[in-house]
Each structure stands twice: as C-alpha cells, then as structure tokens.
Symmetry: C2
Subunit: 341 residues, 2 copies
C-alpha cells in the first residue's frame, strides 16, 4: 500500500478497502427519504438514557458496533479509531473510544469531522501503519441546541436559513486485504476559509466558500471535472448553501450541475421546511455516507462519489467575543464496483 | 519513507526529521527553570488582546511563526497542520489555522493533544503524503479556569493535588529531506483508560493509568526498557501522578526510576507549590518538548527521549452528569545526534 502525493491531494494506491459502514439516526431522520436504508432508527431522542448527551454517545457506540458486526470484526481487531462530534471536549466520542478500548485519536473540525477522520484513517491504512481503522462521527439535535443556541424551552424564533443539527451517527470500518467492492481512492484535507460571516444561524454562508475551495483544489490535484463523479455530496450546506456554492464555483469556471450535486443535509430530511434550510451536524454526512451511500456503491448504483464534508468553526464564546465564523471542508473520494481492483 | 507496524507502535524508517520547534510561555512559566530556553516569554497573560481566549490564540500563532522562521519555511511550505487545545471547539487552534491558510485537521485528546498531533503528522510525512507538517498545541490558565472550573473571581479553594493549566504554546515543523540532527523514530497511539476518577481536581489519578498503559505498550512493541531512554517525559502528571504512575508500572515489573523520568508539568514550573501539584494543559508538554527538549536533542545533551503526553477526558457537563473521567496518553520517541542517520 502507498500514498501518492498529488499537489494537496492524497491518492491511495491501491485504494483502501471499505469493509463495512453503518448509519444510525433519530426518529425524525428515520422518517426522511433515507430512513429505510439506515441501519437503525432510534424510536426516541433520549434512547432511554437520562441525558441527551448520553443518548448521543449511545448512538455513536451503536453505529460503531453495527459497522464492526457487518465487517465481521470485533473491537480488538481495530488498530486505530478516529472520530469526533460537536460537543465540548468531544465527550460522546471519547466515551465511545473508552468502550472500544483501542488506540484513539480525537478529531474536530465541526461538521467536517467525518471526512477529516476518514482522510487520516485512509492515510493510516494506506501507509501500512494500521490494518483496520474505525471512523466515527455523531451529533444530536438536543445536545447541539443546548450547547450552541438558545435553550429550546425559550421557544426562540429561528431564521429560515438556519439548519437543524441531525440526530445521527455514522461509523465506517476500513482496511483489510479483501476486495469488498467499495474503496477510498483519494482525499484532500481542507483549509480554513473565512467569509467573515458573524451570524451563527447563517452557517451555510460560512461553509460554502470552504466547500468551493476544497472541491476546486481536489479537482485540480486529481485532474478531474465534476463530470467524473456520479455524485458530489456536500456535507450540509442546506437549501441556500448549495446555491451559493454552485455560484461561487461558476465564477471559477467549474459547473456543478444540480443533477450531480446532492447535499447530505437535504438528503437526510428530504424536501421539508420543518428543519428550516436542511440538516447539519457531524452525524449528518457520517450517517448518510457511511450508511446508505456506501451501500449504494456496493450495489453498483454509483461508481464514484466525492464527499466534501463542510464545517463551520465557532463556539458560542468565540461568537460572543466578536470573532467571525470561518469554514472548512474536507474531500474524500469513494469508488464502488469494478473500480476496486 | 515508510511506516513499519510493530504491534500497536509505528516505527518510522527512516526517522522523520524535526526541522525546528518553538516554545512560547506566559510570565509565570517564564520564571520557571526552562524560561531561559523558551523562544518567547509573554510579559502578560492578556498579551494586550481584549480577551484571554484571543491571547491564547495569539500565543499559538506566535509559536507557529517562530517554528516556521527557525525552519526557514513560510506557511505556504506547510502541507498539513495538525493541532489542538483545550477550549470548546478548539477555537484558538482553528483560528491559528485560519491565519496559516493551509490544510488543517483539528485534534483533541485534552493535554495529550501534542503527542496525538505529532504521531499523526509523523505518519503523514513518513507515508509520503506530505513533505512538511506543522504541529501546534496550546493552553492558557485563564481560559481553562473560565471554562472548566469555578470562576477565578470566586476565589474558591483548590485541593493540593490539583494542577494549574500552563499558559503556553508549542509548535514543531517536521519533514523535509535534510538531516537536522533531531528526528522522530516511533509513536504509539494511546487507548482510553478509565480509573473511575470523578473528582475534576484529581486529574493526575485519572491520567496515571493511561500513562502506564501506553508506556508499557510502547516498550513491549519496540522491545525496549526504560533504560533505553535518556529521558521519559510524562505529559503532566504532576507531583502525585508521577509517584502513582511509577507504582502502577512497578506492579507490571517495569522500573521507571526517578532519575530517568521527568514530568513536563514539573519541569515547566519547577519545585514550587504555587501551582499546587504542578502544571498541566495542552500547551505544557508542547512548549517543553517542542522548545527546550528538541533543542537539547539537537545539542546532543540527550540521545533518545520518549514523550508520553497525558490527557484527562472530561467536560464540565460530562462531569456534572455523573460521568467518570477517563484518561489517555500518546507516546512519541525522539532521537538526537548521530541517531538521525
């Protein structure tokens, strides 16, 4: 195995096998268009735990367990776990790592965490440093509301361009030597891009420039165009962010057609305004991609998908201290079917 | 370059060159025994910024700039930045990454972040995925007090076994093809170990078992004994934690003599009880190792150092919800002088 450096992109040669993935979602997400393709739908937001934070942890543990079971592995087979979430000190992930009791590195770039963890995990497998790696990411609408926004109980109004944090977790097991029909072929780690957005409800505007930057850099490095992908998946730009991102790319001469471009935040909840402009959260892209999308690749429905997970970098404190909200996006390329030779 | 997997350890063959490092500390740390060997001592805790959080960010930026300058590189030469801190959503590091505007992955395992970032950065360089990587970590006593403990103004009493978060940042530039006299030879990523400590002032007891676990795993994997190192540096176990760690290792038949074992938290502040049981914080091991220790290796004062940075995994919320405080520790082996052949 080896990693080939192409400008800022990493190409994995041979590609890194995806052994199995799992998506676990909350009740509202379960009613969305991808509900039937998720590995588990939690019937309630609290999962019978005594705090939403513990419920979030449990969802991430559940995703990890399901992915391991589908891969035919136990926790002991995992050489490295990389994961993260949105909560302070990424506690749900740290406690998931406690249960697995295997080497662990905690990750954080907000909602882009899934792709960050997957990029580094693919690097670790491709370099030969580890045989099997586990990637996890999760989020919970109630824990995010409690931490980032006004307390729910206040019933404060939200603007229509705001997004709802997904109650969701995803896990992916990669590595091994078996051809599984799905693999990771390349990754591009993103740069922090600051569009000087200061409204913590307008995160799509903070993330769209980072999405455009990373997509452009990945295409340039790999010598590809959007037409080379069956699907380009933005992390969670939402209804307004996808238009903004396409417009930004158009100015750079990159035509990202609506047919080829999907947003995990819109795929998860479908065409509804009950989540305002769409879903978001570290668990959003993780559940959508590690669950249904990996399965679609396995079934040959798609041949090549580019995930560009997006994150908005803020804490309530940084925002209250007048700091702007920069964005970041990381790209990971997945292939299915005959591509995994 | 390549990475050789030895049980849970990664051996870098050839070793990864350390181009330059820098340690930046606050005024009290500057009065400590290592003050004269730091790259910069900040005269005040607020660095003339209007919040301690912004001061923390500035220290990390300063460390990155100093390390880059010493390495003879500019930000544009950096292919990957890995870093983290203790604050919610690791904002000081995210904003440092904004300034550098290079590919960035955010890291978090509390005070073990320095060694986590260095392990993964060494892997990235060794695999050939990147040519130059920058590792940063920082912390600030006032931001940590504000976030994790009672507000300072309350003047609440602390127990003698508590530790003071260091106001410090460190940065290290690794990679390139030049023999610099200092290199990274191996790393072992730690597991989350839970000793069921629940007192947020007793973090050394939470971290000591993780330190012992990682040290033992690293020695086993590499076929080494403590005698093979000139210095084994624990991250920040403090006065009580070092005794506990030595005792735990003794039970496993590993004799970690006091002569060979030093603690970054004790080295930074020296023999004083004004910081209770010693220093801690993500910037503690980062400033001590990336600053003075890298320089000592370069000068041939030491031939081989093992950094085992330790972290206690908690948020005020996880603690208040009755969760225990697990620990983690990551090991990185550095060599100086002729070792970097």
């Amino acid at each position: 195995m080896s990693v080939i450096r192409k400008a800022d992109a990493w190409r994995f040669d041979p590609p890194v096998p995806v052994m199995a993935g799992a998506g676990v979602v909350g009740p509202k997400e379960g009613e969305g268009p991808l509900g039937g393709e998720m590995d588990h739908i939690c019937p309630s937001l609290h999962l019978e735990r005594d705090s939403f934070e513990k419920a979030e942890q449990q969802m991430q543990e559940m995703a990890a367990e399901l992915a391991l079971r589908k891969a035919g592995l136990s926790a002991a087979d995992i050489d490295l776990m990389l994961g993260g979430d949105l909560l302070n000190q990424i506690m749900p992930t740290c406690l998931t790592a406690r249960k697995l009791a295997r080497p662990f590195c905690g990750m954080f770039t907000a909602c882009a965490t899934s792709a960050q963890a997957l990029s580094l995990a693919s690097l670790a497998v491709s370099s030969g440093a580890v045989l099997h790696a586990l990637v996890t990411a999760g989020s919970h609408t109630c824990t995010a509301e409690r931490q980032f926004r006004y307390p729910n109980e206040y019933g404060s109004q939200k603007p229509p361009y705001s997004q709802q944090t997904a109650t969701a977790a995803g896990a992916l097991v990669i590595g091994g030597s078996r051809d599984t029909g799905v693999c990771i072929t390349a990754a591009t780690v993103g740069r922090v891009v600051d569009a000087k957005v200061t409204d913590p409800f307008q995160l799509s505007a903070a993330m769209a420039p980072a999405f455009a930057d990373t997509l452009r850099r990945h295409l340039d490095a790999m010598g590809r165009t959007p037409g080379d992908y069956d699907l380009i998946l933005s992390g969670d730009l939402g209804r307004h962010g996808v238009l903004l991102a396409r417009d930004l790319l158009q100015r750079d001469g990159i035509d990202l057609s609506a047919e080829r471009h999907r947003d995990c935040g819109l795929l998860l909840f479908g065409d509804t305004d009950s989540v305002f402009a769409g879903g978001s959260g570290a668990g959003c892209s993780a559940s959508v991609v590690f669950g249904p999308m990996v399965e679609a690749l396995r079934q040959g429905k798609y041949r090549r998908i580019l995930l560009v997970a997006t994150g908005a970098l803020l804490s309530p404190q940084s925002n209250q201290q007048g700091e702007s909200i920069p964005g970041i996006a990381h790209a990971v390329e997945l292939e299915g079917g005959a591509a995994n030779g």
